[in-house]
């Protein structure tokens, strides 16, 4: 139970950081952290199927697609 509380707080912090960062690469990494913690939470809440999908799609593929898109457009929020 204490792990779930700690992870939820960390997830909120990462989500706030993703909103505040002006450097978009840093914001995307914060989003990936949100996904990774969500995946750990799904596992702790006994949903391993969803945890696997969240880890593979949310933390890996979406992050990569965002990073490629940022590399091809602009790195800093105007």
């Amino acid at each position: 139970m204490i792990y779930i509380a700690i992870l939820t707080v960390a997830m909120l912090i990462a989500a706030g950081a993703a909103y505040l960062f002006r450097d978009l690469i840093a914001a995307v990494v914060a989003c990936a952290a949100v996904s990774l913690i969500a995946s750990a939470l799904f596992y702790l809440l006994q949903a391993p199927d969803v945890a696997m999908a969240e880890a593979a799609i949310g933390a890996a593929l979406t992050t990569a697609i965002f990073v490629i898109a940022i590399r091809k457009t602009g790195r800093y929020e105007k």
Binding site: P48, D49, A51, M52, A53, A56, I57, A60, L61, A64, I65, I68, A69, R71, K72, T73, G74
Partner: protein, 233 residues
């Protein structure tokens, strides 16, 4: 004025949502169908992983809709990125520095192992956690690793499109065979076999293999389109 207007519309929405949700009895057990799945799922479908039993037996038509949505998303990315003029992308990648030997060889060494792991996940979808979507995304992440580790790596789109189409057609044909034999779409017409065996649960492993290949090909296609399009900045 504008801020006041948007604030009042937002608060109207919040009040409306709160009023309508206040009548919903949260926390009460009103899902009688869940108990049925827990009691009869494994014997009905032959799949010990109940998530798979629901996704590919009781709710298999919804899964067909889900992979259709993913297909449309992949198609949209492909069309949108092919709207810009096809440029010689090899010139862009020439400016990028080559990755170090360890990164290149490491990614090439891990590539088949990750593919194998993805295949393992979707072939054991009816026994252990995971399934077609998870295995497919693991397969796509193997291609992502190759793109990241090897500058100028290119993926031929033809085999991807063939794999994706064949997998989708397999899913629909199995559904239609079930319709012909059992009277409803995606009927589990094969024998269920013994529990916890790899070849059990009837058509579920075949369907999950089709979904895994389809999802893997679609996501790898999206990643490849993203890498190969446009210019670097």
């Amino acid at each position: 004025m504008r801020a006041f207007l948007s604030f009042s519309i937002l608060s109207l929405i919040v009040v409306g949502l709160a009023l309508s949700l206040s009548h919903v009895p949260f926390g009460q057990d009103r899902m009688r169908v869940a108990d049925y799945y827990l009691d009869h799922g494994a014997t009905d479908t032959g799949a010990p992983n109940l998530v798979t039993a629901v996704v590919l037996n009781y709710r298999a038509l919804d899964t067909l809709g889900e992979i259709t949505v993913l297909f449309i998303a992949s198609l949209g990315v492909g069309i949108f990125l092919s709207l810009q003029k096809k440029k010689d992308t090899t010139k862009d990648t020439k400016n990028l520095p080559e990755a170090s030997l360890i990164v290149r060889r490491g990614s090439q060494f891990l590539f088949p192992l990750i593919l194998l792991f993805g295949g393992y996940i979707f072939l054991h979808g009816h026994l252990t956690p995971g399934g077609g979507f998870q295995g497919g995304s693991v397969i796509a992440s193997a291609f992502l690793l190759m793109f990241l580790g090897n500058t100028g790596y290119r993926l031929r789109q033809g085999p991807l499109a063939v794999t994706e189409s064949l997998a989708g057609i397999t899913f629909v044909i199995i559904g239609l065979i079930g319709l012909g034999i059992g009277g409803y779409f995606l009927n589990n017409f094969l024998p269920k076999g013994s529990e916890f065996a790899l070849f059990s649960a009837g058509v579920i492993p075949i369907l999950y293999a089709a979904i895994g290949l389809k999802v893997g090909a679609e996501l790898a296609g999206i990643v490849a389109n993203m890498f190969e399009s446009g210019s670097e900045r």
